[in-house]
C-alpha cells in the first residue's frame, strides 16, 4: 500500500485529504495518472504540462524528499512509502 496525502489547495480541489493505492511499486508519474482516474477529477493539469513535465507550484515529497532531487516524475514509489503533495505558502 502506498499512502498519498494532499494538502491545502490540492485537498480543497480534490475534496479528499489522502488516498491509499494498492501498488507494489510505481513511478510518481504513473501514480499521478492512477490518482486522476480514481478521483474522477482532472487534477493532472495542475501538476503536469503537455510535454509530461512537472509544473511549478506543487512540492511532491516521497518519504520526505522532494522528487526534484530524486528522479523527478520517474521516481519509483514502493509499498509502504508515503507521498505528500502541497503547494507551499510563499508569502510573508
Amino acid at each position: 500500500m502506498i499512502k498519498v496525502r494532499f494538502f491545502t489547495l490540492l485537498k480543497l480541489f480534490l475534496g479528499i485529504s489522502e488516498i491509499d493505492l494498492d501498488q507494489d511499486q510505481i513511478s510518481v508519474k504513473d501514480l499521478l495518472f492512477l490518482i486522476n482516474e480514481k478521483v474522477e477529477k482532472d487534477f493532472l493539469h495542475k501538476l503536469i504540462d503537455e510535454s509530461g513535465e512537472l509544473l511549478r507550484g506543487t512540492i511532491i515529497l516521497v518519504n520526505g524528499k522532494n522528487i526534484l532531487h530524486l528522479e523527478k516524475l520517474n521516481t519509483i514509489v514502493k509499498t509502504g512509502d508515503e507521498v505528500n503533495m502541497f503547494p507551499p505558502g510563499g508569502g510573508g
Binding site: 496525502r5 494538502f7 491545502t8 489547495l9 485537498k11 480543497l12 485529504s17 512537472l54 511549478r56 507550484g57 506543487t58 512540492i59 511532491i60 515529497l61 518519504n63 520526505g64 524528499k65 522532494n66 526534484l68 532531487h69 505528500n84 502541497f86 503547494p87 507551499p88 505558502g89 510563499g90 508569502g91 510573508g92
Partner: protein, 221 residues
C-alpha cells in the same frame, strides 16, 4: 516585573537565555511584525529587523505595526519605533537592505534567523548566507495556509532541497490577518524553542491549513 508571567512557567534560567539571544528577523511584513513583537515581549536580548520596504495600503490588512498615517514610510522605522516603545530590555537594530544585495552579510552575533520573507528567491539567498550550525526557522503563508520548519545549516536538508519547484505568483500573494497571525505565532514559538535548544519542528515541517484547521507535521530529508 514585565516577564513575571512567563518566568512563572518557563523559569528564570530560560529567561536569562532569552536575554542573551539575538535573532535576525528577515522581513517585517505580515509574519515579521507579529513574530518580532512576540520575541520582544518575551524579553529577547536583541533583534535585527531587516526589510527595505515602504508601507503601502494593502499592507494594512495584516501587518500589525502599520496604520494609515504610516503609508509611504519605511517599515524598519515604524517597526523599530513601535517595538522600542514596548520596553527597553531588547536592543532593536533596523537593517534597511535587500537580502539579495550582494554586499549584504548576516551579523556575526546572531543565534539564528527567522525567515518571514515574502518570496523564495530571497529565502534561498538568506539560507546561503547563513553560517553553519545556526538555526533557520522558515515560515511561509498564503491564503488560509502556510508552513513552518526549523533547519540547521550543515545538518538539515537545505531550503532548496525542500522547496524546489515553488512557483512565483503573478501579482500580489493572496493573504489575510488570520493565517498570518497563526503562522507567525507558531514561528515565534519555534524560534524561542530553538533558543532553548528544544526545537519541535527540526527537519519536520508543520503544514497549517485554516480552511479546516488541519495541522500536520511532515518529516523532510
Amino acid at each position: 516585573m514585565i516577564f513575571s508571567r512567563q518566568i512563572a512557567f518557563w523559569g528564570e534560567k530560560k529567561q536569562l537565555i532569552l536575554q542573551k539571544s539575538t535573532i535576525f528577523i528577515a522581513g517585517i511584513g505580515g509574519l515579521g511584525c507579529l513574530l518580532s513583537e512576540i520575541l520582544v515581549r518575551s524579553g529577547i536580548g536583541k533583534v535585527y529587523l531587516c526589510d527595505n520596504g515602504i508601507i503601502k495600503k494593502p499592507d494594512l490588512n495584516r501587518q500589525i505595526f502599520y496604520t494609515q498615517k504610516d503609508i509611504g514610510k519605511r517599515k524598519v522605522d515604524i517597526a523599530t519605533k513601535r517595538l522600542s516603545e514596548i520596553h527597553s530590555f531588547t536592543e532593536i537594530v533596523p537593517v534597511d537592505v535587500n537580502i539579495k544585495d550582494k554586499n549584504f552579510i548576516l551579523p556575526s552575533d546572531i543565534s539564528g534567523v527567522a525567515d518571514c520573507l515574502d518570496n523564495f528567491e530571497s529565502r534561498f539567498v538568506l539560507w546561503d548566507k547563513l553560517p553553519r550550525n545556526k538555526f533557520y526557522v522558515h515560515a511561509g503563508v498564503e491564503r488560509f495556509y502556510g508552513q513552518v520548519v526549523t533547519l540547521i545549516k550543515g545538518s538539515s536538508p537545505t531550503l532548496r532541497d525542500i522547496f524546489s519547484n515553488y512557483k512565483v505568483l503573478e501579482g500580489p500573494i493572496p493573504v489575510c490577518a488570520h493565517s498570518v497571525s497563526v503562522i507567525s505565532s507558531i514561528a515565534a514559538t519555534e524560534v524561542v524553542k530553538n533558543i532553548f535548544n528544544e526545537p519541535v519542528l527540526l527537519n519536520r515541517m508543520l503544514v497549517i491549513d485554516l480552511s479546516d484547521f488541519t495541522f500536520i507535521k511532515l518529516d523532510v530529508k
